[in-house]
Protein backbone atom coordinates (compact mmCIF):
# COMPACT_ATOMS: atom_id res chain seq x y z
CA UNK A 1 0.00 0.00 0.00
CA UNK A 2 1.50 3.31 -1.00
CA UNK A 3 0.60 6.69 0.32
CA UNK A 4 1.87 10.07 -0.78
CA UNK A 5 2.14 10.92 2.89
CA UNK A 6 4.26 7.99 3.97
CA UNK A 7 7.68 9.64 3.92
CA UNK A 8 6.44 12.28 6.35
CA UNK A 9 4.85 9.83 8.78
CA UNK A 10 6.57 9.28 12.10
CA UNK A 11 7.61 5.71 12.86
CA UNK A 12 4.91 5.42 15.53
CA UNK A 13 1.59 6.95 14.53
CA UNK A 14 -0.04 9.26 17.02
CA UNK A 15 -3.18 7.75 18.58
CA UNK A 16 -5.47 10.12 16.70
CA UNK A 17 -4.58 10.31 13.03
CA UNK A 18 -5.15 13.64 11.36
CA UNK A 19 -8.68 13.87 9.92
CA UNK A 20 -7.44 14.39 6.38
CA UNK A 21 -5.46 11.17 6.49
CA UNK A 22 -8.48 9.30 7.82
CA UNK A 23 -10.57 10.60 5.00
CA UNK A 24 -8.01 9.48 2.46
CA UNK A 25 -7.93 5.98 3.90
CA UNK A 26 -11.72 5.67 3.90
CA UNK A 27 -11.90 7.01 0.35
CA UNK A 28 -9.23 4.56 -0.78
CA UNK A 29 -11.25 1.74 0.78
CA UNK A 30 -14.42 3.00 -0.96
CA UNK A 31 -12.57 3.06 -4.30
CA UNK A 32 -11.37 -0.49 -3.74
CA UNK A 33 -14.96 -1.58 -3.12
CA UNK A 34 -16.13 0.28 -6.24
CA UNK A 35 -13.49 -1.56 -8.26
CA UNK A 36 -14.77 -4.87 -6.87
CA UNK A 37 -18.34 -3.95 -7.84
CA UNK A 38 -17.23 -2.98 -11.35
CA UNK A 39 -15.25 -6.20 -11.79
CA UNK A 40 -18.29 -8.27 -10.80
CA UNK A 41 -20.53 -6.32 -13.20
CA UNK A 42 -17.93 -6.72 -15.95
CA UNK A 43 -18.38 -10.49 -15.72
CA UNK A 44 -21.85 -9.94 -17.21
CA UNK A 45 -20.27 -8.63 -20.45
CA UNK A 46 -20.64 -11.85 -22.43
CA UNK A 47 -24.23 -12.35 -21.30
CA UNK A 48 -25.15 -8.77 -22.19
CA UNK A 49 -23.53 -9.10 -25.62
CA UNK A 50 -25.34 -12.40 -26.30
CA UNK A 51 -28.68 -10.84 -25.39
CA UNK A 52 -27.99 -7.73 -27.47
CA UNK A 53 -27.14 -10.02 -30.42
CA UNK A 54 -30.61 -11.59 -30.34
CA UNK A 55 -32.22 -8.19 -30.73
CA UNK A 56 -29.67 -6.82 -33.22
CA UNK A 57 -30.13 -9.78 -35.56
CA UNK A 58 -33.91 -9.42 -35.45
CA UNK A 59 -33.71 -5.64 -35.87
CA UNK A 60 -31.54 -6.10 -38.96
CA UNK A 61 -34.38 -8.16 -40.43
CA UNK A 62 -36.89 -5.49 -39.43
CA UNK A 63 -38.62 -7.56 -36.73
CA UNK A 64 -38.63 -8.27 -33.01
CA UNK A 65 -37.21 -11.59 -31.75
CA UNK A 66 -39.47 -14.36 -30.47
CA UNK A 67 -39.10 -15.47 -26.85
CA UNK A 68 -37.61 -18.79 -27.97
CA UNK A 69 -34.74 -16.96 -29.65
CA UNK A 70 -33.49 -15.74 -26.26
CA UNK A 71 -32.38 -19.33 -25.61
CA UNK A 72 -29.27 -18.22 -27.51
CA UNK A 73 -27.93 -16.63 -24.31
CA UNK A 74 -27.58 -20.07 -22.74
CA UNK A 75 -23.94 -20.43 -23.80
CA UNK A 76 -22.99 -17.25 -21.97
CA UNK A 77 -25.08 -18.33 -18.98
CA UNK A 78 -23.25 -21.66 -18.76
CA UNK A 79 -19.91 -19.92 -18.92
CA UNK A 80 -20.85 -17.74 -15.95
CA UNK A 81 -22.39 -20.49 -13.82
CA UNK A 82 -19.84 -23.22 -14.52
CA UNK A 83 -16.67 -21.13 -14.52
CA UNK A 84 -14.12 -22.26 -11.93
CA UNK A 85 -14.73 -20.50 -8.66
CA UNK A 86 -17.87 -18.93 -10.09
CA UNK A 87 -19.60 -16.60 -7.67
CA UNK A 88 -22.81 -16.61 -9.74
CA UNK A 89 -25.71 -18.61 -8.46
CA UNK A 90 -28.15 -17.78 -11.26
CA UNK A 91 -28.22 -15.52 -14.27
CA UNK A 92 -29.98 -14.74 -17.49
CA UNK A 93 -31.69 -12.19 -19.66
CA UNK A 94 -35.00 -10.52 -18.84
CA UNK A 95 -37.02 -8.86 -21.60
CA UNK A 96 -38.60 -5.42 -21.45
CA UNK A 97 -42.38 -5.38 -21.97
CA UNK A 98 -43.08 -5.32 -25.68
CA UNK A 99 -39.50 -6.07 -26.70
CA UNK A 100 -40.38 -9.58 -27.91
CA UNK A 101 -42.74 -10.43 -30.77
CA UNK A 102 -44.71 -13.15 -29.01
CA UNK A 103 -44.50 -12.47 -25.25
CA UNK A 104 -45.23 -9.35 -23.26
CA UNK A 105 -42.90 -10.51 -20.44
CA UNK A 106 -40.14 -13.09 -20.56
CA UNK A 107 -37.43 -14.35 -18.23
CA UNK A 108 -34.65 -16.50 -19.67
CA UNK A 109 -33.00 -17.48 -16.38
CA UNK A 110 -30.88 -20.39 -15.25
CA UNK A 111 -29.60 -21.36 -11.84
CA UNK A 112 -27.09 -23.81 -10.45
CA UNK A 113 -28.37 -27.19 -9.28
CA UNK A 114 -27.32 -28.78 -6.00
CA UNK A 115 -23.85 -30.37 -5.83
CA UNK A 116 -22.89 -29.68 -9.43
CA UNK A 117 -26.13 -31.14 -10.75
CA UNK A 118 -25.92 -28.80 -13.72
CA UNK A 119 -28.14 -25.87 -14.54
CA UNK A 120 -31.84 -25.57 -14.16
CA UNK A 121 -34.14 -23.30 -16.05
CA UNK A 122 -36.29 -21.08 -13.85
CA UNK A 123 -39.99 -21.19 -14.58
CA UNK A 124 -42.13 -18.30 -13.44
CA UNK A 125 -45.75 -17.23 -13.51
CA UNK A 126 -45.64 -14.26 -15.89
CA UNK A 127 -49.38 -14.01 -16.52
CA UNK A 128 -50.81 -11.03 -14.58
CA UNK A 129 -53.98 -13.09 -14.01
CA UNK A 130 -51.99 -15.66 -12.01
CA UNK A 131 -52.20 -15.30 -8.23
CA UNK A 132 -48.43 -15.79 -8.05
CA UNK A 133 -47.68 -13.36 -10.91
CA UNK A 134 -44.02 -12.38 -10.79
CA UNK A 135 -44.07 -8.73 -11.82
CA UNK A 136 -40.42 -7.93 -12.38
CA UNK A 137 -41.25 -4.56 -13.98
CA UNK A 138 -41.36 -2.96 -10.54
CA UNK A 139 -38.28 -4.64 -9.05
CA UNK A 140 -35.20 -2.42 -8.64
CA UNK A 141 -32.83 -4.65 -10.64
CA UNK A 142 -35.12 -4.22 -13.64
CA UNK A 143 -36.65 -0.76 -13.07
CA UNK A 144 -33.40 1.09 -12.40
CA UNK A 145 -31.49 -0.04 -15.50
CA UNK A 146 -34.67 0.74 -17.49
CA UNK A 147 -35.33 4.17 -15.98
CA UNK A 148 -31.77 5.36 -15.44
CA UNK A 149 -29.85 3.49 -18.13
CA UNK A 150 -27.16 2.34 -15.72
CA UNK A 151 -26.11 -0.93 -14.11
CA UNK A 152 -27.36 -1.73 -10.63
CA UNK A 153 -26.50 -3.99 -7.73
CA UNK A 154 -29.77 -4.52 -5.85
CA UNK A 155 -30.38 -6.22 -2.55
CA UNK A 156 -29.47 -8.10 -0.48
CA UNK A 157 -32.64 -10.16 -0.19
CA UNK A 158 -33.57 -13.72 0.64
CA UNK A 159 -34.18 -15.33 -2.74
CA UNK A 160 -37.29 -17.47 -2.72
CA UNK A 161 -37.17 -18.20 -6.42
CA UNK A 162 -34.08 -20.26 -6.99
CA UNK A 163 -32.85 -21.38 -3.64
CA UNK A 164 -32.48 -20.52 -0.02
CA UNK A 165 -29.80 -17.90 -0.62
CA UNK A 166 -29.18 -14.38 0.57
CA UNK A 167 -28.26 -12.67 -2.68
CA UNK A 168 -27.48 -9.44 -4.43
CA UNK A 169 -28.86 -9.06 -7.93
CA UNK A 170 -26.47 -7.45 -10.41
CA UNK A 171 -28.06 -6.15 -13.61
CA UNK A 172 -26.95 -4.26 -16.69
CA UNK A 173 -29.23 -2.64 -19.25
CA UNK A 174 -29.31 -4.15 -22.72
CA UNK A 175 -29.66 -1.33 -25.21
CA UNK A 176 -29.73 -2.00 -28.95
CA UNK A 177 -29.44 0.61 -31.74
CA UNK A 178 -32.83 1.04 -33.36
CA UNK A 179 -34.67 -0.77 -30.56
CA UNK A 180 -33.57 1.13 -27.44
CA UNK A 181 -33.85 -0.56 -24.04
CA UNK A 182 -34.86 -4.17 -24.63
CA UNK A 183 -34.19 -5.69 -21.22
CA UNK A 184 -31.45 -6.50 -18.72
CA UNK A 185 -28.63 -9.01 -18.47
CA UNK A 186 -28.47 -9.98 -14.83
CA UNK A 187 -27.21 -12.44 -12.26
CA UNK A 188 -27.51 -13.30 -8.57
CA UNK A 189 -24.42 -13.39 -6.37
CA UNK A 190 -24.72 -14.72 -2.82
CA UNK A 191 -23.64 -11.99 -0.43
CA UNK A 192 -21.38 -14.60 1.18
CA UNK A 193 -19.38 -14.80 -2.07
CA UNK A 194 -19.05 -11.04 -2.33
CA UNK A 195 -17.89 -10.82 1.27
CA UNK A 196 -14.51 -12.20 0.17
CA UNK A 197 -14.00 -9.02 -1.84
CA UNK A 198 -15.54 -6.56 0.61
CA UNK A 199 -14.11 -7.56 3.99
CA UNK A 200 -10.41 -7.38 3.01
CA UNK A 201 -10.98 -3.80 1.79
CA UNK A 202 -12.57 -2.89 5.13
CA UNK A 203 -9.88 -4.72 7.10
CA UNK A 204 -7.24 -2.56 5.45
CA UNK A 205 -8.52 0.38 7.49
CA UNK A 206 -6.88 0.92 10.88
CA UNK A 207 -10.17 0.88 12.84
CA UNK A 208 -13.51 -0.91 12.78
CA UNK A 209 -15.44 -0.32 9.60
CA UNK A 210 -18.63 -1.33 7.83
CA UNK A 211 -20.15 -1.11 4.39
CA UNK A 212 -23.77 0.09 4.37
CA UNK A 213 -26.29 0.27 1.55
CA UNK A 214 -28.53 3.27 0.90
CA UNK A 215 -30.96 2.47 3.68
CA UNK A 216 -28.21 1.76 6.18
CA UNK A 217 -28.24 -2.04 5.94
CA UNK A 218 -24.94 -3.73 6.78
CA UNK A 219 -23.39 -5.47 3.75
CA UNK A 220 -20.09 -6.26 5.46
CA UNK A 221 -18.39 -5.27 8.70
CA UNK A 222 -15.21 -5.89 10.61
CA UNK A 223 -16.98 -6.07 13.95
CA UNK A 224 -19.48 -8.67 15.19
CA UNK A 225 -21.43 -5.80 16.75
CA UNK A 226 -22.77 -5.05 13.25
CA UNK A 227 -24.30 -8.28 11.94
CA UNK A 228 -24.59 -8.47 8.14
CA UNK A 229 -28.16 -7.72 7.10
CA UNK A 230 -29.02 -5.63 10.16
CA UNK A 231 -29.89 -1.93 9.94
CA UNK A 232 -27.43 0.67 11.20
CA UNK A 233 -29.05 3.83 9.83
CA UNK A 234 -27.63 5.91 12.67
CA UNK A 235 -24.09 5.45 11.36
CA UNK A 236 -25.00 7.17 8.09
CA UNK A 237 -25.70 10.39 9.99
CA UNK A 238 -23.33 10.08 12.97
CA UNK A 239 -20.95 13.09 12.89
CA UNK A 240 -18.36 11.16 14.93
CA UNK A 241 -18.00 8.45 12.27
CA UNK A 242 -15.90 8.71 9.11
CA UNK A 243 -17.72 8.15 5.84
CA UNK A 244 -16.86 7.57 2.20
CA UNK A 245 -19.35 7.06 -0.63
CA UNK A 246 -18.49 4.13 -2.91
CA UNK A 247 -17.77 5.80 -6.27
CA UNK A 248 -19.75 3.48 -8.55
CA UNK A 249 -22.91 4.37 -10.49
CA UNK A 250 -24.27 0.89 -9.77
CA UNK A 251 -24.52 1.23 -6.00
CA UNK A 252 -25.55 3.66 -3.30
CA UNK A 253 -23.12 2.31 -0.72
CA UNK A 254 -21.11 4.02 1.99
CA UNK A 255 -18.03 2.96 3.94
CA UNK A 256 -18.33 4.05 7.57
CA UNK A 257 -15.77 4.05 10.38
CA UNK A 258 -12.13 3.40 9.82
CA UNK A 259 -10.75 4.91 12.99
CA UNK A 260 -11.01 3.30 16.39
CA UNK A 261 -14.13 1.39 17.42
CA UNK A 262 -17.50 2.09 15.86
CA UNK A 263 -19.27 1.72 19.19
CA UNK A 264 -17.61 3.03 22.29
Amino acid sequence: MTSTFSPALPAVLPVALPDALDRLAVERCARRIAAAVESVLAELDGLRAAAADCWSRAAAAGRRPAAAELAAVHGAVSELLAGTGSRWFGCGAVAAPGALADAELHVEWWYRGARGAGERRLRLALDPADAEFYDYRVLPWFARPRDEGRPVVAGPHVDLLCADRYVLCCARPVVVPGAGFVGVAAGDVPLAALERLLVPALRALPGEAALLDGEGRVLAATTPALPVGSLARGLLADPAVGRGAVPSEAVDWTVVGGRGDLFV
Partner: protein
Protein backbone atom coordinates in the same frame (compact mmCIF):
# COMPACT_ATOMS: atom_id res chain seq x y z
CA UNK B 1 -52.60 -23.39 -10.95
CA UNK B 2 -50.87 -26.63 -11.87
CA UNK B 3 -47.91 -28.02 -10.04
CA UNK B 4 -46.04 -28.00 -13.35
CA UNK B 5 -45.93 -24.21 -13.58
CA UNK B 6 -43.84 -23.47 -10.55
CA UNK B 7 -44.72 -20.28 -8.73
CA UNK B 8 -42.22 -18.48 -6.51
CA UNK B 9 -43.55 -19.83 -3.24
CA UNK B 10 -44.13 -23.31 -4.55
CA UNK B 11 -40.60 -23.58 -5.88
CA UNK B 12 -39.33 -22.31 -2.55
CA UNK B 13 -41.21 -25.06 -0.75
CA UNK B 14 -40.17 -27.75 -3.18
CA UNK B 15 -36.54 -26.75 -3.50
CA UNK B 16 -35.22 -28.52 -0.41
CA UNK B 17 -36.93 -31.77 -1.40
CA UNK B 18 -35.66 -31.83 -4.95
CA UNK B 19 -32.16 -30.76 -3.98
CA UNK B 20 -31.61 -32.95 -0.97
CA UNK B 21 -31.86 -36.60 -1.81
CA UNK B 22 -32.46 -39.38 0.69
CA UNK B 23 -28.81 -40.36 0.60
CA UNK B 24 -27.84 -36.82 1.63
CA UNK B 25 -30.31 -37.01 4.49
CA UNK B 26 -28.84 -40.31 5.71
CA UNK B 27 -25.29 -38.98 5.35
CA UNK B 28 -26.29 -35.91 7.34
CA UNK B 29 -27.70 -37.99 10.21
CA UNK B 30 -24.48 -39.97 10.49
CA UNK B 31 -22.38 -36.80 10.20
CA UNK B 32 -24.40 -35.32 13.08
CA UNK B 33 -23.80 -38.38 15.19
CA UNK B 34 -20.05 -38.02 14.57
CA UNK B 35 -20.04 -34.26 15.14
CA UNK B 36 -21.90 -34.63 18.45
CA UNK B 37 -19.41 -37.22 19.62
CA UNK B 38 -22.05 -39.99 19.79
CA UNK B 39 -19.74 -42.18 17.75
CA UNK B 40 -16.02 -41.78 18.19
CA UNK B 41 -12.90 -42.20 16.11
CA UNK B 42 -12.42 -45.86 15.20
CA UNK B 43 -16.00 -46.92 16.03
CA UNK B 44 -17.58 -49.32 13.60
CA UNK B 45 -20.87 -48.24 12.02
CA UNK B 46 -23.73 -50.76 11.90
CA UNK B 47 -23.87 -52.87 8.75
CA UNK B 48 -25.53 -51.60 5.58
CA UNK B 49 -28.55 -53.82 6.26
CA UNK B 50 -28.92 -52.69 9.87
CA UNK B 51 -28.60 -49.02 8.95
CA UNK B 52 -31.18 -49.44 6.17
CA UNK B 53 -33.59 -51.13 8.61
CA UNK B 54 -33.03 -48.56 11.33
CA UNK B 55 -33.46 -45.56 9.05
CA UNK B 56 -36.24 -47.08 6.99
CA UNK B 57 -34.52 -46.63 3.65
CA UNK B 58 -33.33 -48.93 0.86
CA UNK B 59 -29.90 -50.58 1.04
CA UNK B 60 -28.87 -48.68 -2.07
CA UNK B 61 -29.58 -45.39 -0.31
CA UNK B 62 -27.34 -46.35 2.61
CA UNK B 63 -24.61 -47.42 0.18
CA UNK B 64 -24.84 -44.04 -1.53
CA UNK B 65 -24.73 -42.24 1.83
CA UNK B 66 -21.64 -44.20 2.91
CA UNK B 67 -19.96 -43.27 -0.38
CA UNK B 68 -20.63 -39.61 0.40
CA UNK B 69 -19.14 -39.99 3.89
CA UNK B 70 -16.10 -41.78 2.46
CA UNK B 71 -15.66 -38.96 -0.03
CA UNK B 72 -15.80 -36.47 2.84
CA UNK B 73 -13.14 -38.50 4.66
CA UNK B 74 -15.39 -39.16 7.65
CA UNK B 75 -15.36 -42.95 7.41
CA UNK B 76 -13.23 -45.63 5.85
CA UNK B 77 -14.45 -48.98 4.63
CA UNK B 78 -12.38 -52.14 5.05
CA UNK B 79 -13.07 -55.37 3.24
CA UNK B 80 -12.82 -58.91 4.57
CA UNK B 81 -13.97 -60.85 7.62
CA UNK B 82 -13.43 -57.97 10.08
CA UNK B 83 -14.48 -55.45 7.48
CA UNK B 84 -17.08 -52.72 7.65
CA UNK B 85 -17.29 -48.96 7.81
CA UNK B 86 -15.27 -47.22 10.52
CA UNK B 87 -15.46 -43.64 11.75
CA UNK B 88 -12.33 -41.72 10.93
CA UNK B 89 -12.14 -38.45 12.83
CA UNK B 90 -8.71 -38.11 14.36
CA UNK B 91 -9.08 -35.05 16.62
CA UNK B 92 -6.23 -33.11 15.05
CA UNK B 93 -7.37 -33.61 11.47
CA UNK B 94 -10.95 -32.64 12.18
CA UNK B 95 -9.89 -29.57 14.14
CA UNK B 96 -7.75 -28.43 11.24
CA UNK B 97 -10.77 -29.00 9.03
CA UNK B 98 -13.00 -26.91 11.29
CA UNK B 99 -10.48 -24.06 11.38
CA UNK B 100 -10.48 -24.07 7.58
CA UNK B 101 -14.28 -24.16 7.62
CA UNK B 102 -14.51 -21.21 10.00
CA UNK B 103 -12.08 -19.27 7.83
CA UNK B 104 -14.06 -20.13 4.65
CA UNK B 105 -17.51 -19.28 5.98
CA UNK B 106 -18.72 -15.75 5.39
CA UNK B 107 -19.80 -13.63 8.36
CA UNK B 108 -23.26 -13.50 6.78
CA UNK B 109 -23.41 -17.32 7.03
CA UNK B 110 -22.36 -17.20 10.69
CA UNK B 111 -24.95 -14.53 11.38
CA UNK B 112 -27.66 -16.64 9.74
CA UNK B 113 -26.62 -19.75 11.65
CA UNK B 114 -26.90 -17.62 14.80
CA UNK B 115 -30.36 -16.40 13.75
CA UNK B 116 -31.60 -19.97 13.55
CA UNK B 117 -30.00 -20.83 16.88
CA UNK B 118 -31.61 -17.71 18.35
CA UNK B 119 -35.03 -18.97 17.25
CA UNK B 120 -34.52 -22.55 18.36
CA UNK B 121 -32.58 -22.12 21.61
CA UNK B 122 -34.51 -19.00 22.69
CA UNK B 123 -37.82 -20.78 22.24
CA UNK B 124 -36.57 -24.00 23.83
CA UNK B 125 -35.49 -22.05 26.93
CA UNK B 126 -38.82 -20.25 27.14
CA UNK B 127 -40.87 -23.43 26.77
CA UNK B 128 -38.58 -25.36 29.11
CA UNK B 129 -39.29 -22.73 31.79
CA UNK B 130 -43.00 -23.44 31.35
CA UNK B 131 -42.80 -27.20 30.98
CA UNK B 132 -39.66 -28.37 32.75
CA UNK B 133 -39.85 -31.81 34.39
CA UNK B 134 -39.06 -32.03 38.12
CA UNK B 135 -35.63 -33.66 37.71
CA UNK B 136 -34.32 -31.14 35.17
CA UNK B 137 -32.28 -29.18 37.72
CA UNK B 138 -30.10 -32.12 38.71
CA UNK B 139 -29.37 -33.23 35.17
CA UNK B 140 -28.67 -29.82 33.71
CA UNK B 141 -26.61 -28.67 36.69
CA UNK B 142 -24.36 -31.65 36.04
CA UNK B 143 -23.98 -30.55 32.40
CA UNK B 144 -23.11 -27.00 33.48
CA UNK B 145 -20.35 -28.43 35.68
CA UNK B 146 -19.20 -30.74 32.90
CA UNK B 147 -18.73 -27.78 30.59
CA UNK B 148 -16.93 -25.76 33.27
CA UNK B 149 -14.57 -28.64 34.04
CA UNK B 150 -14.18 -30.00 30.51
CA UNK B 151 -10.63 -30.52 29.29
CA UNK B 152 -10.23 -30.27 25.55
CA UNK B 153 -12.51 -29.52 22.63
CA UNK B 154 -14.21 -32.93 22.48
CA UNK B 155 -15.43 -32.75 26.09
CA UNK B 156 -16.41 -29.09 25.75
CA UNK B 157 -18.36 -29.79 22.60
CA UNK B 158 -20.21 -32.73 24.12
CA UNK B 159 -21.16 -30.91 27.34
CA UNK B 160 -22.24 -27.79 25.47
CA UNK B 161 -24.30 -29.68 22.88
CA UNK B 162 -26.00 -31.85 25.49
CA UNK B 163 -27.08 -28.80 27.50
CA UNK B 164 -28.66 -27.23 24.41
CA UNK B 165 -30.35 -30.46 23.33
CA UNK B 166 -31.56 -31.32 26.86
CA UNK B 167 -33.24 -27.94 27.08
CA UNK B 168 -35.21 -28.68 23.89
CA UNK B 169 -36.06 -32.08 25.35
CA UNK B 170 -37.30 -30.34 28.52
CA UNK B 171 -39.47 -28.14 26.28
CA UNK B 172 -41.28 -31.39 25.37
CA UNK B 173 -40.90 -30.64 21.67
CA UNK B 174 -39.71 -33.30 19.25
CA UNK B 175 -39.28 -30.79 16.45
CA UNK B 176 -37.26 -28.35 18.53
CA UNK B 177 -35.10 -31.24 19.70
CA UNK B 178 -34.42 -32.35 16.12
CA UNK B 179 -33.51 -28.78 15.18
CA UNK B 180 -31.28 -28.50 18.25
CA UNK B 181 -29.43 -31.69 17.31
CA UNK B 182 -28.84 -30.46 13.78
CA UNK B 183 -27.72 -27.02 14.95
CA UNK B 184 -25.36 -28.36 17.60
CA UNK B 185 -23.79 -30.74 15.08
CA UNK B 186 -23.10 -27.75 12.87
CA UNK B 187 -22.15 -25.19 15.51
CA UNK B 188 -20.32 -27.26 18.12
CA UNK B 189 -17.29 -28.28 16.07
CA UNK B 190 -16.85 -24.71 14.78
CA UNK B 191 -17.11 -23.22 18.24
CA UNK B 192 -15.05 -25.59 20.40
CA UNK B 193 -11.71 -25.43 18.68
CA UNK B 194 -8.49 -25.93 20.60
CA UNK B 195 -6.91 -22.93 22.36
CA UNK B 196 -6.56 -20.12 21.48
CA UNK B 197 -9.54 -20.38 19.12
CA UNK B 198 -12.28 -21.68 21.39
CA UNK B 199 -14.49 -19.43 23.51
CA UNK B 200 -14.08 -18.70 27.22
CA UNK B 201 -15.44 -21.94 28.64
CA UNK B 202 -16.03 -20.60 32.15
CA UNK B 203 -18.03 -17.70 30.79
CA UNK B 204 -20.11 -20.02 28.62
CA UNK B 205 -20.72 -22.37 31.56
CA UNK B 206 -21.78 -19.39 33.65
CA UNK B 207 -24.23 -18.33 30.92
CA UNK B 208 -25.65 -21.86 30.88
CA UNK B 209 -26.09 -21.60 34.65
CA UNK B 210 -27.98 -18.31 34.31
CA UNK B 211 -30.32 -19.81 31.71
CA UNK B 212 -30.89 -22.80 33.97
CA UNK B 213 -31.68 -20.61 37.00
CA UNK B 214 -34.36 -18.77 34.99
CA UNK B 215 -35.76 -22.03 33.61
CA UNK B 216 -35.97 -23.61 37.06
CA UNK B 217 -37.64 -20.46 38.45
CA UNK B 218 -40.30 -20.82 35.77
CA UNK B 219 -39.28 -17.40 34.42
CA UNK B 220 -40.08 -17.86 30.70
CA UNK B 221 -39.15 -14.34 29.60
CA UNK B 222 -35.94 -14.38 31.63
CA UNK B 223 -34.96 -17.78 30.27
CA UNK B 224 -35.46 -16.62 26.68
CA UNK B 225 -33.51 -13.40 27.30
CA UNK B 226 -30.60 -15.28 28.89
CA UNK B 227 -30.60 -17.88 26.10
CA UNK B 228 -30.61 -15.18 23.43
CA UNK B 229 -27.74 -13.31 25.11
CA UNK B 230 -25.80 -16.59 25.11
CA UNK B 231 -26.39 -17.12 21.39
CA UNK B 232 -25.31 -13.55 20.62
CA UNK B 233 -22.09 -14.08 22.59
CA UNK B 234 -21.48 -17.27 20.65
CA UNK B 235 -21.97 -15.62 17.24
CA UNK B 236 -19.78 -12.67 18.22
CA UNK B 237 -17.05 -15.09 19.15
CA UNK B 238 -17.34 -16.94 15.83
CA UNK B 239 -17.35 -13.76 13.73
CA UNK B 240 -14.34 -12.38 15.59
CA UNK B 241 -12.38 -15.61 15.12
CA UNK B 242 -13.40 -15.78 11.46
CA UNK B 243 -12.10 -12.27 10.80
CA UNK B 244 -8.81 -13.06 12.55
CA UNK B 245 -8.39 -16.30 10.59
CA UNK B 246 -9.21 -14.56 7.30
CA UNK B 247 -6.49 -12.02 8.10
CA UNK B 248 -3.89 -14.70 8.80
CA UNK B 249 -4.84 -16.69 5.71
Amino acid sequence: MTIGSATPLLSAVLAPLTDLGRADAVARRITEAIALGLVADGDQLPSENDLADQLGVANGTVREALALLREAGLIETRRGRNGGSFVRTPAEGSERLQLARLSDLATVDLRDLGDEELAVFGTAARLAAERAPADLGTRLTRLVHELRDATGPAEQRRADARFHIELAVAAQSVRLTQLAVRLQAELGPLLWLPAPYGPDQERFAEQHREILVAVLAGDAAGARAAAEAHVVACVHHLVRRHLELADDG
